[in-house]
């Protein structure tokens, strides 16, 4: 029997006010898949990621994440589910005036324990520090353990954000535009890092991005999103030039209209 998919959207739509953001989207992300969500700005990529991360309920349709319907769970159930989903935000969403190790340790706030969290984030035990150091080592910035987060460069901060997600020990890793504002050489580095981490943990990876070439080279599956609809969903080889043109050309026309 096939194992259940990590995420599954079934005819999902979302509208806020009179604006439709996602329109009847159906897709599955299987275990170990590496998916790029492509599309112009405003296509709904971030919203789709938030839907997959159990961060946003749909207006219509069914959502299953890690074999659970997040919107039928009680508060604690939802917290437990979310604690297994790593999400690397586009702006990293780090707390600038905490130390690096604290920003990583925050990743385990989804686990049970109240006062324990306060202790863990103010006075980490040696074994916890070892874990934090190890996770930072995996993203290549172990020596920044005790630095102030605000003093770090943008790229280093992104690695801290990735380390925070890894520290969650996630069953699913999502990243919103991780290569949107870096030069091509660095972009490939970041992609390699994310792919390696997902590979070694055998968890699915979903990334939203602009750069088609980068996606083609690295990811096993491409999903094109335009105006909240899925334009294509296939392997890199199957996506034709004309489809890509359609994805960006049409959208740029529509984007000009306010």
């Amino acid at each position: 029997m096939k194992p259940p998919p990590a995420c599954r959207l079934d005819q999902v739509s979302l509208s806020l006010g009179d604006r439709t953001i996602l329109q009847s989207i159906s897709l599955e992300v299987g275990r170990g898949e590496q998916v790029a969500i492509l599309g112009p700005s405003g296509a709904g990529k971030t919203t789709l990621l938030r839907m997959l991360s159990a961060g946003l309920p749909p207006s219509q349709g069914g959502v299953r994440v890690l074999d659970q319907n997040p919107w039928q769970l009680k508060r604690n159930g939802l917290r437990r589910l979310r604690s297994k989903i790593g999400f690397v935000h586009q702006d990293h969403a780090l707390v600038p005036n905490l130390r690096v190790w604290q920003n990583v340790a925050v990743g385990r706030l989804g686990r049970p324990g109240n006062l324990g969290h306060i202790r863990r984030l103010t006075l980490a035990s040696p074994s916890e520090l070892r874990d934090l150091h190890e996770v930072l080592e995996q993203v290549g910035i172990a020596d920044l353990l005790f630095q102030r987060t605000a003093d770090l460069s943008g790229g280093e901060q992104q690695r801290v954000a990735i380390a925070r997600s890894l520290y969650q020990q996630p069953a699913l890793l999502l990243a919103d535009e991780p290569v949107a504002s870096v030069d091509p050489a660095r972009a490939q580095q970041v992609m390699d890092l994310l792919l390696d981490l997902a590979d070694s943990r055998d968890i699915p990876l979903v990334i939203s991005m602009h750069d088609l070439e980068l996606a083609r080279r690295n990811m096993s599956r491409l999903i094109g999103l335009r105006n909240g609809r899925v334009l294509f969903d296939s392997t890199p080889g199957e996506v034709s030039e004309s489809t890509i043109k359609e994805l960006y050309a049409l959208a740029s026309q529509e984007n000009e209209a306010p």
Binding site: H133, E137, A142
Partner: protein, 328 residues
């Protein structure tokens, strides 16, 4: 890496972490002072819980707070209300009105003077700070400013190219003045003025007006300086002077915020006015001191309630007006 070398490395990193000794020292000093003050023999705070205090407090709550007439006939709450009403009618209502009057006159004088001086003090060619969108932040930040050093003097040391030397000097002097008047306790000011001036409400009004004028002066100056440069640049280009540019181009933009700040200070003004009468000027505070001299605790308590009510009412009024200003 094995656990042992990793621990070693973590220790190294920990010893190399960036630290701010000044901040640490300051923090430890502050915390130390708080701790010391709580246990210090010169305050002996633990005596607050001593038995004699407790019986004192007990007597206060059960007997002192009730007027003797009410205690005698045992009429309870209705008796207290009747007594309270008579005190209110006799003098407390008038005193409340006087208190409000003090605050009103003071804030009008303060705002008028501050507006005038801020027009002179506002520098022109400032790098624009992003204006703050929310009202509350402005209030909080305005309260938090340093008091003896003029706002932002350090950051903004370099004068702009279009600034005349004389104008800059006036501005700097005014800023220093704003800081100085703010740092004096208004109660002390009123206390000193009472000895100098004839027996009217002026000492309290002046003390309030000076203190708040200093605060509003700084806030108005900042507001004027943060107004978008567009209109004033075009006025400057046709040869208008510094003060008239501020008057014609900046004030219309800064007006709403300045008014809102004035109302915000008005709340504080009313609150301070409730006590300024203690130096001997007809208002709630004066009655409190007088009742204290007669050892009339019930009346003191009633007057304190009265003061709180005035503060709450003016709070509410100011909040409504400020919300309107924000919407309008």
């Amino acid at each position: 890496m094995k656990p042992e070398p990793r621990n070693q490395r973590i220790k190294e990193l920990h010893s190399q972490r960036p630290r701010s000794f000044g901040l640490r020292l300051g923090g430890i000093l502050m915390a130390g002072l708080v701790f010391y003050s709580l246990i210090s023999p010169s305050l002996h705070l633990q005596t607050l819980f001593a038995l004699e205090r407790r019986s004192n407090l007990h007597r206060f709550l059960t007997q002192d707070l009730l007027p003797q007439s009410v205690q005698r006939d045992g009429s309870g709450l209705t008796g207290w209300l009747a007594w309270a009403w008579s005190v209110l009618q006799e003098r407390a209502l008038l005193a409340s009105a006087q208190t409000l009057g003090l605050a009103l006159v003071a804030i009008v004088i303060a705002a008028g003077t501050a507006a005038l001086l801020a027009t002179l003090a506002a520098r022109e060619d400032f790098p624009q700070k992003p204006s703050r969108p929310t009202e509350s932040r402005g209030d909080a930040a305005s309260d938090a400013g340093p008091s003896l050093t003029p706002a932002g003097a350090r950051k903004r040391a370099a004068p702009g190219p279009g600034e005349g030397g004389q104008h800059a000097l006036i501005g700097r002097g005014l800023r220093l003045g704003f800081g100085l008047t703010r740092s004096l306790p208004e109660y002390l000011l009123a206390f000193l003025l009472v000895a100098l001036l004839p027996h009217t409400a002026w000492p309290a009004v002046l003390a309030l007006a000076l203190h708040n004028g200093g605060i509003l002066g700084r806030l108005f100056t900042e507001t004027l300086e943060n107004v978008p440069a567009g209109p004033s640049t075009s006025l400057r280009s046709i040869g208008a002077g510094a003060a008239s540019t501020t008057l014609l181009a900046r004030w219309p933009e800064a007006f709403t915020r300045a008014l809102s700040l004035t109302f915000y200070r008005f709340e504080t003004c009313v609150r301070d006015a409730t006590v300024l009468g203690m130096v001997g000027i007809g208002s709630i505070g004066y009655l409190v001191v007088e009742a204290r001299a007669r050892q009339d605790v019930p009346e003191q308590f009633l007057l304190v309630l009265c003061g709180a009510t005035i503060v709450l009412i003016s709070d509410l009024l100011s909040r409504i007006v400020r919300r309107r200003l924000r919407v309008a």
